[in-house]
C-alpha cells in the first residue's frame, strides 16, 4: 500500500521543512502556509502508513541499505506507527492553533523550524530500531524543546528552561552510560538483535540485564516523569506558549513512556517478577502523587501539568501488568489521553488569550462567554477523567480489566481512585474557569478561530468513545506484536533467523 | 620495526633533550618570582623542549616511512610562531590587569609611558 521507503518522510520531511523555514524565517505567510501544509500532509501520510502496516505487517527500513545489526534500521510496527499518527494529529492541532497565537517575534525566531525539528525527534524516537539512534533522537527532540521552551527569553521561561535542561542532560548522560554497559555486555545496540540475543541465552546475563533495566528505567522514567523522577516536570511545562504546552504535555513525556514500553516488552522481559513489579509500584505512586499535586494547584495549566504525571502512571500500570490485554490497554490509554491532554492545554491557551490568565481565581464565568469552548473543555476533561462514553473511559476500562483478570485488585482500586481525583481536579477547573462569577478581563479576541485544532482533537476523543472497537482492534494488533518479541525480531533480522 | 642504532640513539637523545628543556621550563615556572619571569621560562624552554621531541619524531617516523616529516616541521614553525605571541598577550594582559613586577621592578619604562600617554 505505502512504499516502505516513504516512512523516512516522517523523520526527514520535518527536518527538510525546518531547514527551509529557517532559511525564510522572516516570511510570515510562507512560514504559516508551509507549516500547515506539511503537518497536514504528514498527518495524512501517517494514517496511510498505519493502515498499510495493519494490513501488511511490520515495515523495516534499512538506513543506508545496511542490514541490522550493522546499520541503523527503522521499524514501523503498529505501536510505533500509532505513536507517529498521534504525534502528527497533535502537531496538526498545535500548528492550527499556532497560526493565530504565535507572536510575530517568536515566529521570526524559528518557532516553526524548531517545532518541526521537535516533530522529527519525536518521530525518530518512535520509529528507530536502534538504541543509540534512540539516544540521538532524544537529543534532537530535547534541544528543540529547550529552544522552544526558552523562546521569548522571559525570566520565567529562562528559569524553567534551566531546570528542564539540567535534568534532561543528566538523564541523557546516564543514557550513554547504560548504552556503554549494554554494548559491553551484549555486543549490539540494535533492539531486535538484543532481544534475539537475550532470548537465545539462558539466564547467565540476567543479573546484568536487571541492572540495565533499572538504568534504562531511570533514564526513560526521568523523561516520562514517573515517580520518583517527575519533580522537574510541572514547572517547565507550565511556561511555554499554549500550543507548545499542548505538544509538550501531550507528546513529549510519551516518548519516554514509549521507550519504556518498547524496552520492557522487547528486551527486559527476562524477569518480570522484579522489573515489572517495580513498574507497578512506581505506576501506583506516580498515579497518586501526580493527582495529589494537581489537586493542590489553583492554575489551569499547572493542574494540567501535574495531571501529565498522574496519567503516565496509568500507562506504566498497563506496561507493568504485562499481559497482552494490559499492553493493548496501555496503548489504548495513550491515544485518548494524549488527545485530551493536548486539547486541554490548547483550551488553556484560548482561556489565556481570552482573559490573560489561566488562574482559577483570576478567571471565571467563561461558559457564558463561549459555549463551544466550554463544551470542548468539558468533553476533553471528562474524557481525561474517564467518564463514559468518552474515549478516556475505555482507556481506563481496558487497563483495569486487564488488572482484574490477573487479580491485581489493589492496583485496579488505585487506578479508580486516581480517576476519581482526576475528575475532582477537572471539576475544579470547570468551576473555577467556566462557572462562577464572571471575573477577569475579557479581551476582544475572537475565540472561534482558535478552536479548529481543539475541535480536531475532541472529534477523535468522541469518535473513539463511540467506536472504541476500532482503536481497540489496532491496540490488540499492537499488543500482539509487542507481546511476542519473535514477531519483531523476525521482521528485523529476517524470517530465517535461527531459534 | 627495527631502526639503525644511530637513529635509535639520535631519537633517544633528542627525546631526552626535549624532556630536559620541558622540565627546565616547568622548574622555571615554579621557581621564578613573578609571572613575567615565569613566562620567560615557558616561552623559551618549553617551546624548545617540544621542538626537540618533534624533531625526534620527525627523524623516527620519516625513517619508518610513516611520514615525510613535513607536518612535524609545520608544528615546529607553528610553535615558534605562537609561543611568543601567546606570551605577549598574557604579559600585556597581566600588566594592564595590575599584576606588578616582582619587588616593583628596577626599571619600568612601560609604566612611565602608560602614565604619560594617559594624560
Amino acid at each position: 500500500m505505502m512504499a516502505p521507503d516513504l516512512f523516512i518522510l516522517f523523520i526527514m520531511g520535518p527536518v527538510v521543512t525546518a531547514a527551509f523555514l529557517a532559511a525564510f524565517h522572516k516570511r510570515d505567510l510562507l512560514q504559516r502556509g508551509v507549516s500547515l501544509t506539511v503537518s497536514l500532509g504528514l498527518w495524512g501520510l501517517s494514517v496511510v502508513g498505519l493502515l498499510s502496516i495493519l494490513q501488511n505487517g511490520i515495515v523495516v527500513l534499512r538506513m543506508g541499505n545496511w542490514a541490522a545489526p550493522y546499520g541503523i534500521i527503522l521499524v514501523a510496527d503498529v505501536l510505533s506507527m500509532t505513536m507517529v499518527v498521534l504525534t502528527m494529529t497533535v502537531a496538526v492541532a498545535v500548528v492550527a492553533f499556532s497560526l493565530r497565537t504565535v507572536e510575530h517575534a517568536h515566529q521570526e525566531h524559528f518557532y516553526y523550524p524548531l517545532f518541526f525539528i521537535l516533530i522529527m525527534g519525536v518521530n525518530g524516537a518512535f520509529l528507530t530500531g536502534d538504541l543509540f539512534n534512540l539516544f540521538v533522537f532524544f537529543e534532537v527532540l530535547l534541544i528543540a524543546s529547550f529552544a522552544l521552551m526558552a523562546l521569548g527569553s522571559q525570566p520565567g521561561q529562562l528559569r524553567e528552561t534551566v531546570k528542564y535542561v539540567v535534568i534532561n542532560l543528566i538523564a541523557s548522560t546516564f543514557f550513554l552510560i547504560s548504552l556503554a554497559v549494554l554494548y559491553r555486555t551484549m555486543g549490539t545496540l540494535n533492539m531486535a538483535d538484543l532481544a534475539y540475543k537475550i532470548q537465545m541465552t539462558s539466564g547467565e546475563l540476567d543479573p546484568t540485564l536487571t541492572i540495565l533495566a533499572l538504568v534504562f528505567l531511570f533514564v526513560f522514567g526521568t523523561k516520562a516523569a514517573i515517580f520518583p523522577l517527575y519533580f522537574w516536570l510541572p514547572g517547565p511545562y507550565f511556561q511555554p506558549a499554549a500550543g507548545l504546552s499542548a505538544f509538550f504535555g501531550g507528546i513529549l513525556t510519551k516518548v519516554g513512556v514509549y521507550a519504556i514500553f518498547r524496552t520492557f516488552t522487547l528486551i527486559f522481559r527476562h524477569d518480570p517478577s522484579v522489573t515489572h513489579e517495580l513498574l507497578l509500584i512506581l505506576a501506583a505512586l506516580t498515579m497518586l502523587l501526580g493527582v495529589f499535586g494537581a489537586l493542590s494547584q489553583m492554575d489551569m495549566k499547572r493542574i494540567l501539568s501535574y495531571h501529565i504525571i498522574s496519567q503516565i502512571g496509568y500507562l506504566i500500570l498497563g506496561i507493568g501488568l504485562f499481559t497482552p490485554q494490559s499492553l493493548a490497554g496501555a496503548l489504548f490509554y495513550m491515544v485518548p489521553y494524549v488527545l485530551a491532554k493536548s486539547a486541554l492545554f490548547l483550551i488553556a491557551g484560548v482561556v489565556q488569550a481570552a482573559t490573560g490568565s489561566t488562574h482559577l481565581k483570576a478567571v471565571g464565568g467563561l461558559q457564558s462567554h463561549s459555549i463551544p469552548l466550554s463544551t470542548l473543555f468539558l468533553l476533553a476533561a471528562l474524557s481525561l477523567a474517564g467518564i463514559p462514553p468518552l474515549a478516556g473511559f475505555f482507556s481506563k476500562f481496558i487497563v483495569l480489566q486487564a488488572g482484574m483478570e490477573i487479580g491485581r485488585y489493589g492496583y485496579v482500586g488505585i487506578g479508580l481512585l486516581g480517576g476519581l481525583l482526576t475528575l475532582a481536579s477537572m471539576l475544579k477547573i470547570w468551576n473555577g474557569i467556566f462557572w462562577g462569577e464572571e471575573t477577569g478581563d475579557r479581551r476582544p479576541v475572537p475565540l472561534q478561530p482558535l478552536l479548529p485544532g481543539v475541535v480536531l482533537l475532541v472529534f477523535f476523543i468522541v469518535g473513539i468513545g463511540l467506536f472504541p472497537g476500532v482503536l481497540y482492534s489496532v491496540a490488540q494488533v499492537a499488543a500482539a506484536q509487542v507481546s511476542d518479541p519473535r514477531v519483531y525480531i523476525a521482521a528485523v533480522l529476517g524470517p530465517d533467523v535461527l531459534w | 620495526m627495527e631502526v639503525p642504532y644511530i637513529l635509535d640513539a639520535l631519537v633517544s637523545v633528542l627525546l631526552l633533550l626535549g624532556l630536559f628543556f620541558l622540565l627546565t621550563g616547568t622548574f622555571g615556572l615554579l621557581r621564578l618570582r613573578d609571572v613575567y619571569a615565569r613566562m620567560h621560562a615557558t616561552s623559551k624552554s618549553t617551546t624548545f623542549g617540544v621542538a626537540g621531541v618533534v624533531l625526534a619524531s620527525l627523524f623516527y617516523l620519516r625513517y619508518l616511512g610513516l611520514s615525510s616529516g613535513l607536518k612535524e616541521f609545520l608544528i615546529i614553525v607553528f610553535l615558534f610562531l605562537t609561543a611568543p605571541v601567546g606570551a605577549h598577550m598574557i604579559a600585556r594582559a597581566a600588566y594592564r590587569g595590575g599584576v606588578s613586577l616582582w619587588q616593583g621592578g628596577v626599571v619600568d619604562d612601560f609604566k612611565k609611558w602608560l602614565e604619560t600617554s594617559q594624560e
Partner: protein, 159 residues
C-alpha cells in the same frame, strides 16, 4: 592581485606539506583549495614587493635566529637551575625603527624567544616595543643584539 596569487601559492605549498607529498597534482589541488578558502573567507592583504631579496634575507635571519635561540635556551637553563635567584627584572622601552606590523610581530616574537627578553607590548604609534628583561644588568648588550641583529635584517626585508 599579485599578493593574492603569491599567497595562494603559499597555500598550495602548505597543502603539499599537509599531504606529505610534493607533486603537481597535489599542488593543483592545493591551489584550488587555497583559492576557495580565499573566496569564501576574503580578508584584506598587505602589499608585498621584491620577494627574492626578501627570501634571501629571510634565510639569513633564520640562521641568525637559530643561533641566538640556542644561546638563549642555555642562558635560561642556567638561570632557572642556578642555586640562587638574584635577578633584577624590569620593563624597558625599546625604540622601534620598523613600522610594518608583520615585521614588528616577527621582531617581537624573536625577542621573546631569545634569552632574558620578552615582548610585552607595542605602543599604538609603533614608537616603542616594551620588553621585559629577566636581568636588567644585560640590557645594553641585549638591545645591541636586537638593534644590529634582528631589526637590521627586518629593516632590510622591509625596504
Amino acid at each position: 592581485m599579485v599578493t593574492r596569487l603569491f599567497f595562494n601559492i603559499i597555500l598550495a605549498f602548505a597543502w603539499c606539506l599537509l599531504q606529505d607529498e610534493i607533486s603537481l597534482r597535489q599542488f593543483v589541488i592545493g591551489f584550488l583549495v587555497g583559492l576557495s578558502a580565499m573566496l569564501f573567507f576574503p580578508r584584506s592583504f598587505h602589499q608585498e614587493r621584491r620577494y627574492f631579496r626578501k627570501v634571501t634575507l629571510s634565510v639569513q635571519l633564520v640562521f641568525f635566529f637559530v643561533k641566538e635561540l640556542l644561546i638563549a635556551n642555555w642562558t635560561v637553563v642556567r638561570q632557572v637551575l642556578a642555586p640562587e635567584l638574584k635577578i633584577q627584572s624590569g620593563i624597558v622601552a625599546y625604540p622601534l625603527s620598523l613600522q610594518n606590523d608583520v615585521l614588528i610581530t616577527l621582531l617581537a616574537n624573536m625577542i621573546t624567544l631569545t634569552p632574558g627578553t620578552l615582548s610585552v607590548e607595542v605602543a599604538p604609534d609603533r614608537q616603542f616595543l616594551f620588553i621585559h628583561f629577566l636581568d636588567v644588568d644585560d640590557v645594553e648588550e641585549e638591545i645591541r643584539i636586537i638593534k644590529d641583529g634582528f631589526e637590521r635584517y627586518l629593516l632590510l626585508i622591509a625596504q
